[in-house]
């Protein structure tokens, strides 16, 4: 009976039971799902996996870019001439403004100095090529060809020739992910050009934007331009963001539903400009903080009083 004490020979070794393995992997999957979504603390892990995936992804993009290249090569001379003429025309129409821009900027700076107002920040940045749209059908993101190696950091705004495109949300060693302003709940602080009212515009996820928290009787019309207000410390002031296309005023709600379309070619491929991060905003004035504390102190004391009453 000596043989019974021995472990069975490893002929039929199958590893852990399938159900145990399933439980293990499911637990890990759910854990990283929650951690990635709630705490966003897996960015370093994501970056290292991205180093492996990135070459595969670039290889996968080659046929598409080859087709694009062939198409542009075979594009007729006539089409190119037309485009060239259009561009020349556009250049001419903007020439009067552009030629005086340098002089205006200097003048503006001098006047601001005279008024001892803080100087305006200049917009600088680097041009990045959109490599591809992220495959995730639940969000609207694009991948650009500049990353940590070019000094891109998360939070930088991105614009194209017409207006704001989005914001860098993740940075990988050789690429970066730009979340478009049309992504669901992506927020951009804006200002209505005509009335100067400030608000925040949110992406809806279907290619449109919604201007929220505007009272039903707010002074806003179809066709109004929205530009960045610059209050957030991310976007510089004055970049066009969206245009109002539809307003639903329902007296049952205290806010109007205002729909806008982006001005930039947000969903198109091409080149975008990733602007340098803004200089840090001056710290909030101490009075506000003091008042906040006083408020919370007051609230706490009210609570205490209520608690005492309850007792």
């Amino acid at each position: 009976m000596a043989g019974i004490d021995h472990a069975p020979p490893p002929f039929f070794k199958r590893g852990p039971a399938p159900l145990a393995l399933l439980t293990f992997y499911i637990a890990i999957s759910l854990a990283i799902f929650v951690v990635d979504l709630r705490f966003r603390s897996l960015e370093l892990f994501r970056q290292s996996v991205a180093l492996v995936v990135d070459p595969v992804q670039r290889v996968a993009q080659t046929p598409g870019s080859l087709v694009d290249y062939a198409a542009s090569y075979l594009q007729g001379l006539r089409a190119l001439q037309l485009e060239n003429n259009e561009l020349k025309h556009a250049k001419l129409t903007t020439a009067p403004d552009l030629q005086r821009l340098a002089q205006l900027e200097v003048e503006n700076e001098r006047l601001r100095k005279l008024l001892s107002v803080k100087e305006r920040e200049r917009a600088k940045g680097q041009v990045a090529q959109i490599l591809y749209t992220a495959r995730d059908p639940f969000s609207r993101k694009v991948i650009v060809d500049k990353g940590q190696q070019s000094g891109i950091v998360a939070g930088q705004p991105a614009i194209d020739e017409a207006g704001v495109v989005g914001q860098v949300t993740r940075v990988f060693p050789f690429s970066a992910e730009v979340t478009l302003i049309t992504d669901k709940d992506q927020a951009v602080p804006v200002q209505v050009v005509r009335s100067g009212q400030r608000s925040v515009v949110f992406g809806l996820g279907n290619g449109q934007l919604e201007l929220r928290y505007m009272p039903a009787n707010a002074d806003i019309q179809i066709g109004d331009m929205l530009v960045t207000s610059g209050l957030d410390g991310v976007y510089l002031a004055g970049f066009p963001v969206a245009k109002v296309v539809n307003i639903e005023r329902d007296s049952a709600y205290s806010f109007a539903r205002i729909f806008c379309v982006p001005i930039a070619g947000v969903e198109n491929f091409g080149e975008i400009m990733v602007l340098d991060p803004r200089q840090a905003l001056p710290p909030a004035p101490p009075e506000a903080a003091a008042r906040g504390q006083a408020d919370s102190g007051e609230r706490a004391s009210v609570k205490r009083r209520r608690a005492m009453k309850g007792n």
Partner: protein
């Protein structure tokens, strides 16, 4: 092993490097720009399901988890979304494999369909539960196309295992 149990052809043993290559190929197909077309199947899910049915001792939940992770990062999706769906897919396909291969190919495809649909629906539910936008019905067409592809996929992925038809009469196997 035979392609199906009604067939009299006997297959050569599978080569591990071919499994690896086919999975990487599927990943590459998933990353092509065509992935944005509506109704494109999830190639990784299809190939993973195939090998989980055929060779569940070699391709199991570990591979599913790893591929899921790669897909999550490549997609820019939330980490764990593909992992969860693929691991479940691998588990269910492996547990079905004993029964599934008794059926002719068309009926196999019919039984694979709910698995592939579930893979997609699980991912959609996970994302919708945490407040993503609805991706549109085109997202759910992919698995049905993948079901149709089960038959050609079986043929292509088993190609290296087929023996020549004219055999040596002295060595029947």
């Amino acid at each position: 092993m035979q392609p199906t149990f009604s067939s009299s052809r006997i297959l050569l043993p599978v080569r591990p490097w071919f499994i690896f290559l086919s999975l990487i190929g599927a990943l590459l197909l998933n990353l092509l720009p065509t992935a944005h077309w509506p109704g494109m199947p999830d190639w990784v899910a299809l190939v993973l399901c195939f090998w989980s049915v055929r060779e569940f001792r070699r391709v199991g939940m570990g591979w599913a988890f790893l591929l899921g992770l790669l897909m999550d990062v490549a997609d820019g999706a939330v980490l764990g979304q593909h992992c969860f769906a693929y691991v479940l897919l691998a588990y269910v396909s492996a547990s079905l494999s004993r029964r599934l291969l008794w059926f002719p190919l068309a009926q196999q495809a019919l039984q694979i369909m709910p698995l592939l649909v579930a893979t997609q629906v699980i991912q959609a539910l996970m994302r919708l539960a945490v407040g993503a936008e609805f991706p549109g019905w085109g997202y759910f067409v992919g698995p049905f196309i993948a079901t149709l592809l089960w038959i050609p996929a079986t043929f292509i992925l088993l190609l290296p295992q087929y023996q020549p038809v004219d055999q040596d009469p002295n060595r029947p196997i």
